[in-house]
Amino acid sequence: MWSYFIRRIVIGIPTLWAIITVCFFLMRLTPGGPFDSEAPVPPEILTNLRASYHLDDPLWQQYFSYLGNLLHGDFGPSFKYRDFTVTELIAQGFPVSLQNGAAALVLAVVIGVFLGIVAALAQNTRRDYAVSAIAMTGIVIPNFIMGHLLILIFGLWLKDSIFQLPAGGWEDGAFANRILPVVCLALPYVAYIARIARGSMIEALHANYIRTARAKGLPFRTVVLRHALTSAMMPVVTFLGPATAFILTGSMVVETIFQIPGIGRYFVQGALNRDYTLVMGVTILSAALVIFMNIVVDMIYSVLDPHVRYDEAAS
């Protein structure tokens, strides 16, 4: 099993390298640069700027020095935030995004699995349809509509009531400022997870070993929570790998709407400002995170399901 994971990690490295390379050349081939602005910079200053960012070196030299710096964890200077390096910006933004993302994911798994179980136990009843309707709504309403709706309700309509919540801002991570963004980020995943958990739970409840467990006289609760849930969790776990990628994308929207200083917002602003190094830094970090999470998910999977053995030649 370990050899499989080592192989996965080894395969991950060239993947990451390919991403870095494609990103690098795409961004460098762009017409228009980070120093184009409404008020043109005098040519002498532009020359100095380009020299100080090594933009006049041959492309391959820039590429290799970028790769070399990357190995030291140096993503280069930001083109737009002049006083910061990209590494510093990421160090500021990443923990914020990570906290929100993790909170949203935990919330989504807890509520989603709960709803899924409720729906599965009451298959084809009104309760089941209600859960399906909630799930469909969560999937269909994009989070930039949901975010604005939440702001409208909790920031404006419920203003001056006890339910009032800040409509945006971060305030160094005050609890009240976290609620709306985390909820907004979590809602689509609640929906997806509820759907997945419902399906797998129904399947699990029809399995023979559940009948055996019931026949042995185990209480219904134990059967559902211990026997059925373990196997019903597996599709949910599989979903967590791609979910990380979605959370990253979602954080771009949520952080922009709620004005949270996370990497999602940095990415959006970097993309709009043509801040090459910042965009590349965030992309590389996200890609690494997604690759890493996919490996972790496979590991959890093999722990949960003894059928899964990675020793045999992976097809």
């Binding site: 494609v22 791609p242 996919n294």
Partner: protein
């Protein structure tokens, strides 16, 4: 008199024995099952109405999407006398005309990008599944590799690099949405490859291309149709996400995502500009999802 039922019976028997009819009955069955699903039928009708309104509607309205009502440069409430059936946006442009035009853009992007994804995904999946061996390994490793990449980032980088361009939007989205399609088609092809009729086709001298086109593709069509109806809403969402970031089509052209984003900016003063396009878009997404679920039940009954 007494002959008619017998004749009818032999007709039915012949019909049952004739291979063409047996092949068609799968689709007839599916159609019957789909019609029995009320949510799916309602979705189909609503989708047709929205699509019809989006593509024909703008020609029937008194105002065009980019026309400014110079007498009323303000967000006007619905006014039938002036022909602003749902009012105007803050620049005095007719909201209904803009929403319908936005629908045309969103639906076009959704459908075109899905067809790009369809073309790439089905070719890759069918080739990988049918030829197998090294080709399969290579293609599927490539798909796995792309799966590990946060592709939305790439779409954004592409939009930034090459500018906001309608053709590029759907090509770029299509180029990232084909992965799942390829996997699904490959899986189906793998099971089909071992079937006797494929062996028969090969024994009678059919070339690989001919077998894929004539025998594999028609048999994966059901799954593909289901997946297409589920991909279109995803593409519409992705496009609206790009518009939200300011990377969609350019003003005065618009799409649902852009309208929603514009409306969100004046949420407090004028929620109508957010709510109208939001309703159109969510209705469309709902309908595509219901239709997709209905089609899945209809075309793949063994699951239910």
């Amino acid at each position: 008199m007494t002959l008619t039922p017998i004749l009818a019976q032999t007709d039915a028997l012949e019909a049952a024995l004739a291979p063409t009819v047996a092949g068609r009955s799968l689709w007839q069955d599916a159609w019957r099952r789909l019609r029995a699903n009320r949510a799916a039928v309602a979705s189909l009708i609503i989708l047709c109405v929205i699509a019809f309104a989006s593509f024909i509607g703008p020609y029937l309205l008194p105002w065009t999407y980019d026309q400014i009502d110079w007498d009323h440069i303000e967000a006007l409430p619905p006014d039938f006398a002036l022909g602003h059936y749902l009012g105007t946006d803050s620049l005095g442009r007719d909201l209904l005309a803009r929403t319908l035009y936005g629908g045309r853009v969103s639906l076009s992007v959704g459908i075109l990008a899905t067809f790009v994804a369809l073309a790439i995904g089905v070719s890759v999946g069918a080739i990988a599944g049918f030829i197998g061996g090294k080709t399969d390994q290579l293609l599927m490793r490539f798909v796995d590799l792309l799966y590990a990449v946060p592709l939305t980032f790439f779409v954004i980088i592409l939009m930034v690099v090459f500018g906001r361009n309608f053709v590029l939007i759907f090509l770029a989205i299509g180029a990232v949405e084909w992965l799942t399609m390829a996997r699904i088609v490959r899986g189906q092809t793998l099971t089909l490859r071992r079937k006797e009729f494929i062996e028969a086709a090969r024994a009678s001298g059919g070339s690989t291309t001919a077998i894929i086109l004539r025998h594999i593709l028609p048999n994966v069509l059901g799954v593909v149709i289901v997946y297409v109806t589920l991909t279109i809403p995803q593409v519409i969402l992705l496009e609206s996400f790009l518009s939200f970031l300011g990377l969609g089509v350019q003003d005065p052209r618009t799409s649902w995502g852009m309208l929603i984003n514009d409306g969100a900016a004046e949420l407090e003063i004028n929620p109508r500009t957010l709510i109208v396009p939001a309703i159109f878009m969510t209705a469309t997404l709902f309908c595509f999802n219901f239709l997709g679920d209905g089609l899945r039940d209809a075309l793949d009954p063994k699951d239910r």
